[in-house]
Structure formats: structure tokens, C-alpha cells
């Protein structure tokens, strides 16, 4: 499809969006500060822009249009009502630095969300400010660091992660100045306790893990793991990306975690926006309370006030210009209000039911589960190694061919431990018929893999473009439009 730049014609514009350029206002600016030539932005009519982007949008798979069982990502339906609530003009039009007195409605919402997240996680306090899971991780590990430092315990230079951990975990540890040591996961998807015991020591600042793990199984030794790490003087970090599997069933605090982040955009109703935004609030136990990032909302004389650096002297400080992704926090609150007490529980009920059903059916259809002895949680892993060996088709070939069936592919090649893997998360909002359609497609593709593997290897065939050359993209770097 043409780019918007290809549609551009000098002098064309969306007239209604151009106030008269008040040259006089610019006259008093120093010449040297001004730009010599207008930036080369596209010059198009309003219709052209609207049509171009409308047509572009049709080239996306999305929850609103397709089944999207991308493991670890929780691509579920997020109620439009939550989006509406966050889009109320009173919220959208609020300046972040408005005085507290003029912010009580908003602050009440944030406070309510803090309380809800405390309840569902069992933590002592929550700060809503991190802007995504990875920033939540950063905040959490930075707090662990601040904790050890505050105690004068300066030699703890290492963060442990299971080798199946999400990439953000080790990357976060490094951003916080730590080195990473990976701990093996055993054949049933549990952390190898002996390996862990061997790995911990006085250099251990903490362990980052998620539960259910990225292997799609519930880590049964969570309490023992906590024991081992705590005994070594380390703290436990809970990556909350998989919370939808246990919402209302288990609280991370009860498993012994000291600090966690939640991916509100996964568990609590934010559509993923083609890459974001999200929100990654952190929750802490008593030990890390003094280090919570600011701002935080506190109740105060029948109203609400911001806690800042002055109130939390040990804070790791602010991590963004204002108070985080406010709009995403409001969506999460709206969602929680609609779920209510009983609904929280239902989220994990259906997340796990759907995954278990899908796993059962795929297994019955002859697919191999990576952890056949384990119960599926909200997601589970298939390994297509047998198909790869027999027919020379990779998990990626399966994935691309699924697109032709009008379904997004599951997560491929993650976790890295499992060869030719599909990490499948149907989510709690899909209905059985959609799951059945997926099974049908998988069966059809498996048959095709036998009959005509080349058709898989060259898939997709029904999309606007065929399989794209990633190597060329990286080799002949073209990162912006240039004329001609």
C-alpha cells in the first residue's frame, strides 16, 4: 500500500485543522532559533488521511476481528465500557499538575485502584506509577537494590531468574546494575530446587519469577523457593504478567513474594494498542514499603493527597514526568468495578478452563504437550518438534499458516527451552466455538504439513503480503520514507 508520503502534494492540507498562521507571533523569535525549511511532513487532505489510515487498519489482526491466542500476552477482550470510562472528558481534560483540591475525583479513583490491587495481591502497599510491566520490574528491582543498600548490604550483585523467564526479567536486572544468573527449570516446568540452592549465596540480591511460570504451569514449590532465597538474604520478585490465571485463587504475598508488578494491560482491561500503552503498578510487602516509587495517593483528612519524595524519603523516586499512565489505571479500575468480588474469581476460572479445554482437545488431536504431566494454567505449551522432524516444517511455518485461517498465531519460540514451541493462551473471554475453530485449523494444518509442507513453508498465502524477509529488513536498513 502507498505510504501517506506517497499521497502528499505540496500545498495540500486539511484546512479545518489549520488555524491561520500568525506570523507576527513568531516574528519576535531570534532568527537563529528558527528552522530554515518546513519539516517534510505529508501534505494531504483530511479525507486522504482518514482513508489511508482506515485502510491501513484493515491490514491488522486484532482482538476485535480475530482470535489471538498469543501466550503470555493475554489478548483478551477488554470491555469498551472501561475505555469509555477512561475517556470521560473530566479525566481526559485534567492537567497532571492540577492542585490536589481540584483532583479529588481522579485521586479517589487511583486510591480505590491501589486498594483493590493490594487486596488481590495481598501486598502491603501499591504504587501505580510504572508505565508498563518492564518499568514495574525496574521499580521492583530498584527497590530491592535500595533495600539492600539501606541496610549497608552492598555486596549483593546478582539477580536470579529461571531460564524460562521472560526477556524483560534479565534485561531489567541489568538496567538496575545487576548481573543475571539463570536457574534451570526441570522437565515438568518447575524450578530445579537443587540448582537454585546451588545458585543462591551472599551475592544474591533476589530472584525474579512468575507463577504460573512462562512454561504455562503452576510452580508448585513456590513456598520452598521463597524459603531458599529468603534464607540466603535475597528478596523475591513476582512478575505479575500471568495473574489472570490465579486471580481470586492465590495471592502472591501468600507465596512469599516481597515485591511484584502487575500488567494491568493484561489482567485488567487495556487493549494492547499495537504495542501499548500499559501500566505496571508495583506492590510491596512491609520490607520494601520505605522505597516505593512516587507519586502514590494517600487518604488524608477525608480526602486524598499525593505522597512525594518528602513523604517517602527512602523512595526510589519518580520514574516518569507525571503520575504514570493515568488513563490505563482508570481502565483497570473500571474493569475491577465491573468484575466485583465474584468476577475476579471468574477471570481465572475461565482463563484456566479455556486453556485446559484447548490443551485437552489438541492433545486428543495428536499434538504433543510440552508438559504432559501438568495441568494447564491460563496457557500451555505445545511442541511441534515431531512435525519439524518428520516434515521439515517449523513452528513458525505453522504460525504463518494459521494466519491464513484468520487466526493470530500463538507465541512461538518462547520459552526458549522448548523446541519448536507454541505458547498458547486462549484467554478468558473467548467462547468454546472459537477454541474449536482453532483446533480444526491446527488439525488441517498438520494434515497439510504431511501432504504439502512447502505450502506451510511459504505461508501466509491469504494476507496482503507474503512472508516478509526479516533478514533484508535488518541488512538493507530502511527506517524511514525517502522520496522516489
Amino acid at each position: 500500500m502507498s505510504t501517506i508520503f506517497d499521497l502528499s502534494q505540496p500545498g495540500r492540507n486539511a484546512a479545518a485543522q489549520c488555524a491561520d498562521l500568525d506570523g507576527a507571533a513568531l516574528a519576535r523569535l531570534p532568527e537563529a532559533a528558527l528552522r530554515a525549511a518546513s519539516p517534510a511532513l505529508p501534505e494531504v487532505s483530511e479525507l486522504q488521511a482518514v482513508r489511508h489510515y482506515t485502510n491501513l487498519s484493515a491490514r491488522n489482526f486484532s482482538i476485535d476481528s480475530q482470535f489471538y491466542p498469543l501466550g503470555s500476552c493475554t489478548m483478551k477482550y477488554n470491555p469498551r465500557g472501561a475505555h469509555r470510562a477512561a475517556s470521560l472528558s473530566g479525566f481526559l481534560g485534567r492537567h497532571p499538575l492540577a492542585p490536589e483540591r481540584a483532583s479529588q475525583g481522579f485521586m479517589e479513583c487511583l486510591f480505590a485502584l491501589q486498594e483493590i490491587l493490594k487486596e488481590v495481591t495481598g501486598m502491603a502497599a501499591v504504587s501505580l506509577t510504572p508505565m508498563a510491566g518492564a518499568q514495574g520490574e525496574f521499580a521492583g528491582v530498584a527497590m530491592i537494590r535500595a533495600y539492600h543498600r539501606a541496610r549497608g548490604d552492598l555486596e549483593r550483585r546478582e539477580i536470579l531468574t529461571p531460564d524460562a523467564a521472560h526477556g524483560t526479567n534479565p534485561a531489567t536486572a541489568v538496567m538496575c546494575g545487576y548481573t543475571v544468573r539463570e536457574v534451570a527449570v526441570d522437565g515438568n516446568g518447575d524450578v530445579d530446587l537443587d540448582a537454585l540452592k546451588a545458585a543462591v549465596g551472599p551475592q544474591t540480591a533476589g530472584l525474579m519469577m512468575t507463577n504460573p511460570s512462562t512454561c504455562g504451569v503452576f510452580e508448585r514449590q513456590a513456598v520452598q523457593i521463597a524459603q531458599v532465597v529468603h534464607d540466603a538474604g535475597g528478596l523475591l520478585y513476582y512478575d505479575g504478567a500471568n495473574l489472570n490465571a490465579i486471580l481470586g485463587k492465590v495471592r502472591p504475598a501468600d507465596m512469599g513474594f516481597d515485591v511484584l508488578h502487575l500488567n494491568l494491560h493484561k489482567t485488567f482491561a487495556t487493549p494492547h494498542g499495537g504495542g501499548g500503552p500499559g501500566a505496571g503498578p508495583v506492590g510491596v510487602g512491609e520490607r520494601l514499603l520505605p522505597h516505593l516509587p512516587v507519586p502514590v495517593v494517600a487518604q488524608h483528612e477525608g480526602g486524598y493527597r499525593w505522597l512525594t519524595e518528602d513523604d517517602v524519603p527512602g523512595t526510589i523516586g519518580r520514574l516518569s514526568a507525571f503520575a504514570g499512565n493515568a488513563g490505563i489505571l482508570l481502565r483497570a479500575l473500571a474493569y475491577a468495578l465491573m468484575l466485583g468480588r465474584t468476577g475476579m474469581d471468574r477471570v481465572s476460572d475461565f482463563a484456566v478452563l479455556n486453556a485446559a479445554y484447548l490443551a485437552t482437545r489438541l492433545k486428543a488431536a495428536g499434538f504433543e504437550l510440552a508438559y504432559p504431566n501438568r495441568a494447564a494454567t491460563h496457557e500451555f505449551i505445545l511442541t511441534l518438534a515431531a512435525q519439524a522432524k518428520a516434515h521439515g516444517v517449523s513452528a513458525m511455518d505453522f504460525a504463518k499458516r494459521l494466519l491464513d485461517f484468520g487466526m493470530h498465531a500463538p507465541t512461538t519460540y518462547f520459552p526458549l527451552l522448548v523446541p519448536e514451541c507454541f505458547l498458547i493462551e486462549p484467554t478468558e473471554t473467548e467462547c468454546r466455538e472459537e477454541l474449536d475453530r482453532f483446533v480444526d485449523a491446527m488439525i488441517a494444518i498438520a494434515e497439510e504439513a504431511e501432504r504439502d509442507p512447502e505450502h506451510l513453508r511459504t505461508a501466509p498465502h491469504n494476507l496482503p503480503v507474503g512472508r516478509l524477509d526479516d533478514v533484508k529488513a535488518a541488512r538493507d536498513l530502511k527506517l524511514r520514507w525517502t522520496p522516489g
Binding site: 500500500m1 501517506i4 489549520c18 498562521l21 500568525d22 528558527l34 528552522r35 519539516p39 511532513l41 489510515y53 491488522n60 486484532s62 498469543l70 500476552c73 477488554n78 470491555p79 470510562a85 473530566g90 481534560g93 485534567r94 492537567h95 492540577a98 492542585p99 483540591r101 483532583s103 483493590i116 487486596e119 508498563a132 518492564a134 520490574e137 526477556g167 534485561a171 538496567m175 538496575c176 546494575g177 503452576f218 513456598v223 481470586g248 494498542g273 499495537g274 504495542g275 501499548g276 526510589i316 520514574l319 516518569s320 514526568a321 504514570g324 499512565n325 493515568a326 473500571a334 468495578l337 485437552t360 504460525a399 493470530h408 503480503v465 516478509l468 526479516d470 529488513a473 527506517l479 524511514r480
Partner: protein, 438 residues
């Protein structure tokens, strides 16, 4: 479904969870009775209403600009809003091409060679930019010192420091005089990995970006320009500062189509000159082809990213602010260079008018000399927080007090009037302030 799975209740699906950890049959977590959408909208609506209705003269990094109606009609389309990060390129050409176009627009605005697909916000983005410069310096001066203008937004300074300090990066301050960087206090000792300056700066004033850039380049430091993308429709882009241009341009994209929204979500942008491309954090989209030679787009240079490189990634960022970038691309396409320049000029004209009106009041004067862009710091005869509080009763959000971050500046207030402010609103503000200070 339970039958197929071979269990007789949903509860049975959770049996692997050790019993002692389970909350039990009737969880008491969560916010009480479930609300219907209608009830929830009422509850939230009452709270939204409570804070609404102020006429906004606050800026300081978040601005009340006009957003064309079409912007969110498009960005809000399910196909954009409910897609994930475009890992499956063939099924994500919508997002991918759009971000490619966005990158192109940002490069045009900043006069840089490459842009990523966004970071969280301007402040955290600055931290990433600093880490880029430090990594680059690691190959040369190995300096971990960064010189930062005192005239930078104080929240940016704080956030950036809080983030980079974990990696042992030291931030030093280039002091100001008259609200602008004091050139003669540019240090001579040792090497810096980078110089960070903001243009227009926190007070809305114009720095001598050319000379600052030349100084830094002369001293082997990278230049990081923190810029407001709207003003770049008019101001010299960082890529052209001084003899050879800044190395990195970053900032907050909020003025490009994002409502103020209490400060978020907006998005941070980072653009860089070619030698720094591979240091960029986060997603980058590249153009490529399929086997039939059809043009397509995909995530590229993924070997910088955490999902591939894990601990060796350029950043831990994963989820970014994609939807806001979507809005920004549509916004820029609709506004064009002309529309952006008109909005910038109108904002400046309104702020000039506002400052004229307000400084006509006894005891109110500009805090600093020299040209400002569309924000201005004023000196008041009374403490700013007190004045702001009284203005609220008249429906006016009168600006941002500088008391907390710059107590040494006295009763200082930062004001801004965007293109959305009408002459009447400006006059209302002036009248209210005159009464309050009487």
C-alpha cells in the same frame, strides 16, 4: 467442556495449587458487588465530573492542544487499538506501516536519521537517551558523567537520574542564569558522555542550542536535545543545532494528538543520528519485501531487544505507547507542517497576550528576560500555590507553581496559553488575578 477435560468442576482445574495457598471458596478480594457497565459509568462519571471544568493555563510538559476529531476516531478503531505488538508481521501491516510512517515524520521533525517506535514518556525516555550516550562513550571516553542543564524540566531530571543512577551514571548540573544555561559556566574538567539540554527549556525560554552543541561536540560529549515536537514545526531541529547537530533528540509526544489525560498515557520519542541507531531502545520498524517483491514492514534490529538479547538488550522496554504513536501519526498527517506551525504560533500569540495582560497587574512581572516560546515564568507578589488555589474558585487553573523545585526563584508561576485559549478566557484569567492580588 469440563467433560472433555475430564474433570467435574472448574475448581478441579486448580488442584496443582497447594491447598494451603488457596484463598478458599468465597474470595473476599475485590471491590464489592459487581457493577453493570451502566453503574460503573455512573460511578466513574461522578468522579470525572468532580475535577472537570477548569480553564487550563498550565503547561510544564503537558499541554491543552486541539486534537482533530478524526485522530481518535481512527486510533480508536479496534484494528489498531486491540492488536498486539506486531510480532507476526504479515498480520500486522497496519500497525507496522503506520509506525514506519511515524518514524519518518519524527525524523523529519527532528532532522535525525532514525526513530524508534516510542518509549513510555519524555522523562523516562531521557533516561534511555542518556544510557545510549553512555554506551556509545564506553567505546571512546568511557565517561559515565552526564552534564544536564538546570533549565531542564525538574521531573525529567529526577526520573532520568533515578533510572540511570542504578548503572552508576553520574549527573552533574550546568547552572542557569536568567533562566537559561550559563554558557560561561560550561565546565572544563574531564570528559562527559553527554550534554542534556531542553529547547525551549522548562521556563519556555530559548537556549543558545547552537553554541551549547558546539561546545559539547568540541569536548567529545554527545548532545541530547529534549524537545517539544510541536515547536519543531517552527524551531531549528536538534539535528541541525550548531555545526554538526545533536546526536539524540527525545521528548514527550503529548502535544501530538494526546489529550492531557492527567499526564498519561502520552509517549516518549527518541530519534538519533545514524551512528546511534543500534543503540536505540525498543521497537524499530524497517521496510522489507516478501518473496513476490511486495513491500512490507517488520520489526527490525530485534537483536537490540530484550526478547532476543535478554540481559544484553539496549533496554528492558517491551510494551511501549503504541496507540499514542498511532494517534500522533494521524495527527501529524492531518495537521501537516502548516497546521502544526499554526498551532505553535497561535499558542505563542496567546501566551504573549496572556503575559501582557497579567504583567499589567501590579506586582506581576516576567521572571526572566528574553524571548519565550509559549510558556513564561512570572514573578508574583504572593506565594504561587496560594494564588493558584484562589484561582480555582474562579474556574481557572492558573499555571504551575515553581515553589517546590525552584524555591530560590521566589513566588514564581509558570503559565501557558495554547491555541485553544480564547481571548475571553485570557481576559477572565487576568481579571481574576487582578482581583486576587488587589
Amino acid at each position: 467442556m469440563l467433560e472433555q477435560i475430564g474433570v467435574d468442576s472448574i475448581a478441579a482445574l486448580f488442584e496443582e495449587i497447594p491447598a494451603e495457598l488457596r484463598i478458599g471458596a468465597s474470595p473476599s478480594i475485590g471491590p464489592g458487588e459487581a457493577m453493570s457497565e451502566m453503574a460503573m459509568l455512573r460511578w466513574m462519571g461522578e468522579r470525572a465530573e468532580r475535577d472537570a471544568g477548569l480553564v487550563c493555563f498550565a503547561g510544564a510538559g503537558c499541554y491543552d492542544h486541539h486534537v482533530p476529531a478524526a485522530v481518535w476516531d481512527i486510533a480508536g478503531r479496534g484494528e489498531f487499538m486491540t492488536a498486539y505488538t506486531p510480532y507476526q508481521a504479515e498480520a500486522s501491516q497496519g500497525t507496522l506501516q503506520l509506525v514506519f510512517e511515524y518514524q519518518s515524520m519524527m525524523c523529519a521533525l527532528t532532522a535525525m536519521d532514525a526513530s524508534n517506535a516510542s518509549v513510555y514518556d519524555g522523562a523516562s525516555g531521557l533516561a534511555e537517551a542518556i544510557l545510549m550516550a553512555v554506551r556509545k562513550a564506553a567505546r571512546k571516553s568511557r565517561s559515565r558523567r552526564v552534564l544536564m542543564a538546570e533549565t531542564l524540566h525538574p521531573h525529567y531530571r529526577d526520573a532520568a537520574r533515578n533510572i540511570v543512577a542504578n548503572q552508576g551514571v553520574e549527573i552533574e548540573t550546568l547552572p542557569m542564569a536568567g533562566g537559561r544555561c550559563e554558557l560561561k559556566r560550561l565546565p572544563d574538567d574531564g570528559a562527559f558522555a553527554a550534554l542534556v539540554l531542553q529547547q525551549p527549556n522548562f521556563f519556555g525560554l530559548l537556549e543558545d542550542a547552537d553554541r551549547l552543541t558546539d561546545w559539547a561536540k568540541g569536548h567529545g560529549a554527545a548532545v541530547i536535545g529534549v524537545v517539544n515536537p510541536l515547536t519543531l514545526s517552527v524551531l531549528k531541529p536538534p539535528g541541525q543545532w550548531g555545526e554538526s547537530g545533536a546526536d539524540i533528540a527525545c521528548g514527550d509526544g503529548q502535544p501530538l494528538g494526546a489529550p492531557m489525560s492527567s499526564g498519561g498515557p502520552s509517549f516518549g520519542f527518541i530519534c538519533a543520528k545514524a551512528p546511534l541507531t543500534r543503540q536505540l531502545p525498543g521497537r524499530i520498524i524497517g521496510q522489507t519485501e516478501d518473496a513476490a517483491g511486495r513491500v512490507g514492514y517488520s520489526l527490525t534490529l530485534q537483536a537490540r531487544e530484550q526478547h532476543i538479547r535478554r540481559g544484553k538488550a539496549t533496554s528492558n522496554i517491551c510494551t511501549n505507547q503504541g496507540l499514542l504513536v498511532t494517534a500522533a501519526a494521524v495527527h501529524m498527517a492531518l495537521m501537516g507542517a502548516q497546521g502544526l506551525a499554526a498551532a505553535a504560533a497561535a499558542s505563542r500569540a496567546n501566551t504573549l497576550r496572556l503575559v501582557e495582560r497579567l504583567t499589567a497587574i501590579d506586582g506581576v512581572r516576567p521572571l526572566f528576560p528574553g524571548p519565550f516560546f509559549h510558556e513564561c515564568a512570572l514573578a508574583l507578589p504572593k506565594p504561587a500555590p496560594e494564588v493558584l488555589d484562589t484561582l480555582l474558585d474562579r474556574g481557572v487553573l492558573g499555571g504551575v507553581s515553581l515553589a517546590k523545585h525552584f524555591p530560590e526563584l521566589g513566588n514564581a508561576l509558570l503559565v501557558c496559553a495554547t491555541e485553544k485559549r480564547s481571548a475571553e478566557e485570557i481576559d477572565t484569567y487576568a481579571k481574576a488575578l487582578a482581583e486576587i492580588l488587589r
